[in-house]
């Protein structure tokens, strides 16, 4: 039971992020919402690799009596998470630079006023 707390956290965080993206009209607020969803997915990936009583998958200074690889947490999801964090920052940087350019052209960050393209 106690180990499923991270999963509930993930679900709540995704909901909060999605709320920000659907109901908040400020473009930077939407970027913040996207970052929250991104964090939630990262947390989900790392939680998947967790093993009860496992240690970090680092071979140097390994405590004695640890079986390899059963005694370690899974390293693959951590590698995936690292990639995902870096991609997330790239997306966020691009999104914020686009918001700055939108502000220069439209004079607002309200998504209701940023819709010359429609129909």
């Amino acid at each position: 039971m106690i180990y499923s707390i991270p999963f509930y956290t993930v679900i709540i965080l995704i909901l909060v992020g999605m709320y920000a993206m659907i109901f908040r009209r400020n473009l930077i607020k939407m970027a913040i919402g996207l970052t929250i969803v991104e964090s939630a997915v990262n947390l989900f990936l790392v939680t998947l690799g967790y093993r009860e009583g496992g240690v970090a998958p680092i071979y140097t200074n390994l405590p004695s009596g640890i079986k390899i690889p059963e005694g370690m947490v899974l390293p693959v999801p951590q590698a995936l998470t690292l990639t995902s964090i870096v991609i997330g920052v790239a997306i966020l940087a691009l999104m914020l630079s686009l918001s700055i350019m939108i502000y220069r052209h439209y004079g607002t960050l309200d998504s209701k006023k940023v819709r010359r393209l429609k129909e």
């Binding site: 707390i5 991270p6 956290t9 913040i32 990262n42 790392v46 951590q78 920052v89 918001s99």
Partner: protein
């Protein structure tokens, strides 16, 4: 001990994410987001992923905050109030 830490971290993380979405002041919500990222990196450390924790603290908390602050400086600080 571990369980209490998990519950506390989860609670703080959800609270700071809600605050980040709630605030009308974008700078304040950026700070809340940074707090969330820091707690997330602690979370990663608790789950035995120290290298990911370092990356999250460095990239997620610092660079993200810096980017957001630059973006807010170049646009406007307050979210527009809905009519």
């Amino acid at each position: 001990m571990f369980e209490i830490a998990l519950i506390l971290l989860s609670a703080f993380m959800i609270a700071s994410s809600i605050i980040a979405v709630w605030f009308k002041d974008l700078l304040a919500s950026t700070i809340a987001l940074a707090v969330m990222s820091l707690i997330l990196s602690l979370y990663f450390y608790m789950l035995h992923a120290p290298d990911v924790a370092i990356a999250e603290a460095g990239v997620g908390a610092c660079i993200t905050t810096a980017l957001l602050v630059i973006a807010i400086k170049n646009t406007e600080r307050m979210e527009e109030v809905e009519e």
